[in-house]
């Protein structure tokens, strides 16, 4: 257990110490929130869906968590590069503990990033329908973070160099974000898009957050939570398996 803790703590320390990185990683979500939120707002309103800022705030929070948690897993490339990964891999600690420590450390950092963006959303004028449900929202944020930190660990375990990183970014992370319904409502979608969005794990995360924060869930919280938990378990197992097979 102490091995898990110390590796979890390491991820947190690194996060808190890299102030520049914290600011930099908030840039993109802020752009989405402010430019799309206010730019698309009038059109969205005219179409009869209410405030676009209200609608997309949960999406932008999910996006922040998605990016941050996948990156934390892929940051393993740096540890591979700078050698620290070796130090942990030869240690007499089962690899599953090392993987869990890293993954949950990354997930915790992602939740912190998500909370920052949520705070920005509140400042920008976002208002949850029921403030009492905010802690439940934190819970879902944590669940989203675990799902994608585990996926990040799985990627990080296979990737050998930076070229692969671009590949993951353009063909996995961005599609996961754009197809999740973070930016558009899931009602009345064309058939193919409707199917693809349903295959995207983030869809259920965004939907759950929307359910809790603005009382507008498409699938219902029960389906969301059970799917998210199953996906988290599946990705954690996949991550643990791939991590255990790393050779240097």
């Amino acid at each position: 257990m102490s091995a898990i803790y110390i590796l979890w703590l390491r991820e947190l320390k690194r996060y808190i110490r890299s102030k520049a990185q914290i600011v930099a990683s908030l840039g993109q979500p802020l752009l989405y929130l402010l430019v799309l939120g206010f730019g698309m707002g009038p059109v969205f309103q005219k179409a009869g869906h209410g405030s676009y800022l209200q609608f997309m705030a949960p999406g932008v929070v999910s996006m922040t968590i998605l990016f941050s948690s996948v990156f934390s897993g892929i940051a393993m490339l740096w540890d591979r590069q700078f050698g620290f990964l070796k130090e942990t891999l030869v240690a007499p600690v089962p690899r599953i503990q090392i993987m869990i420590g890293r993954t949950f450390g990354g997930a915790t950092v992602a939740v912190l990033q998500g909370l920052l963006i949520l705070a920005v959303c509140l400042i920008a004028g976002f208002r949850p329908t029921n403030w009492a449900l905010l802690p439940v929202a934190f819970l879902f944020m944590g669940l989203i973070a675990v799902v994608f930190a585990a996926l990040g660990t799985a990627f990080g375990s296979i990737l050998q160099d930076m070229q692969g990183f671009q590949l993951i970014m353009n063909f996995m992370v961005l599609p996961i974000f754009f197809l999740s319904g973070a930016l558009f409502p899931l009602t009345d979608l064309p058939k193919p898009l409707a199917i693809i969005t349903r295959l995207d794990p983030l869809t259920y995360g965004v939907d759950a957050l929307r359910g809790v924060l603005i009382d507008a869930s498409h699938f219902g919280l029960v389906l969301d939570i059970s799917l998210l938990c199953s996906i988290a378990l599946a990705f954690l197992s996949l991550g643990a398996y791939l991590f255990s097979r790393i050779q240097l």
């Binding site: 590796l7 700078f82 620290f84 130090e87 891999l89 030869v90």
Partner: protein, 263 residues
């Protein structure tokens, strides 16, 4: 303590380690010498569970490291040839993390960390981030960390690369001390023949993935009619200079250099 039989490692078509066998007794200091790219580090990686052998048998203290991984890992410590520190943490935090991973009892932890950091003259800088350290300081920290727990087997992969004579001396004195007082078995590689001559009980010379000679320093000299171990080494391995192919790690190091302001 270490038994290797017919060990082979292939990367695709390339055979990095060709059917090597050797034994290291308990309490022995064993030097593994060879030119660049001879297969030293690959062998150490297989011994320390980082790589799976293609074929052959390894036993560490009677355990097969590819099966009983954690039990085997518990028995050895290693100082790597490449850096393996966390540059975003302080010297002390790096030591602390290692102590936790290797289950150094909490009671002795603080004391040992202080002793070792002082021994390698890093105590004053304990709360500085490793990324602010010079190359020599990082190396010293790496070595201090390797001594933090007291393993039965200590692997040292070119530990003195880039060290000043003072630190080198400190290192070998400490290694000999551990070997004499705790019966620690030491498996080392180095390019400095004088070091091997000075500390090693037995020496194996590896070239092109195969062991070309084994024995004490004296035996190797007699076998080749040489006066020094360096001459013996050159007689056995020839004097052509070897190139190592750049690995993906080296390529990434290039990228990392470009980005090095991040770290």
């Amino acid at each position: 303590m270490i038994q290797v039989q017919n060990l082979v490692k292939k990367f695709g078509d390339f055979t990095a380690v060709k059917d090597i066998s050797f034994t290291v007794e308990k309490g022995e200091i064993f030097a593994f010498l060879g030119p660049n790219g001879a297969g030293k580090t690959t062998t150490i990686k297989m011994l320390t569970t980082l790589l799976h052998p293609t074929s052959g048998k390894i036993q560490l203290d009677g355990l097969d490291p590819s099966v009983a991984k954690n039990e085997a890992r518990q028995r050895f410590g290693i100082v790597f040839q490449d850096p393996s520190l966390d540059s975003e943490q302080t010297a002390h935090e790096n030591m602390e993390l290692h102590a936790v991973l290797y289950k150094v009892p909490r009671k002795v932890r603080a004391e040992r960390i202080q002793q070792l950091l002082a021994l390698f003259e890093l105590w004053e800088r304990r709360d500085d981030l490793v990324k602010t350290f010079s190359g020599g300081m990082k190396r010293r920290l790496e070595i201090a960390r390797g001594f933090l727990h007291t393993p039965k087997i200590l692997f040292l992969d070119e530990p003195t690369l880039g060290l000043d004579p003072q630190t080198r001396n400190q290192l070998w004195t400490h290694v000999k001390h551990l070997n004499e007082t705790q019966q620690t078995t030491v498996f080392l590689t180095t390019h400095y023949m004088d070091e091997a001559d000075r500390v090693a009980h037995r020496i194996a010379i590896i070239d092109h993935g195969g062991i070309v000679a084994q024995g004490t320093s004296l035996e190797l000299k007699q076998q080749t009619n040489s006066e020094s171990l360096e001459q013996a080494f050159l007689a056995l391995t020839g004097s052509t200079i070897r190139d190592e192919a750049a690995t993906s790690a080296d390529q990434m190091r290039q990228v990392a250099k470009m980005w090095s302001n991040r770290r």
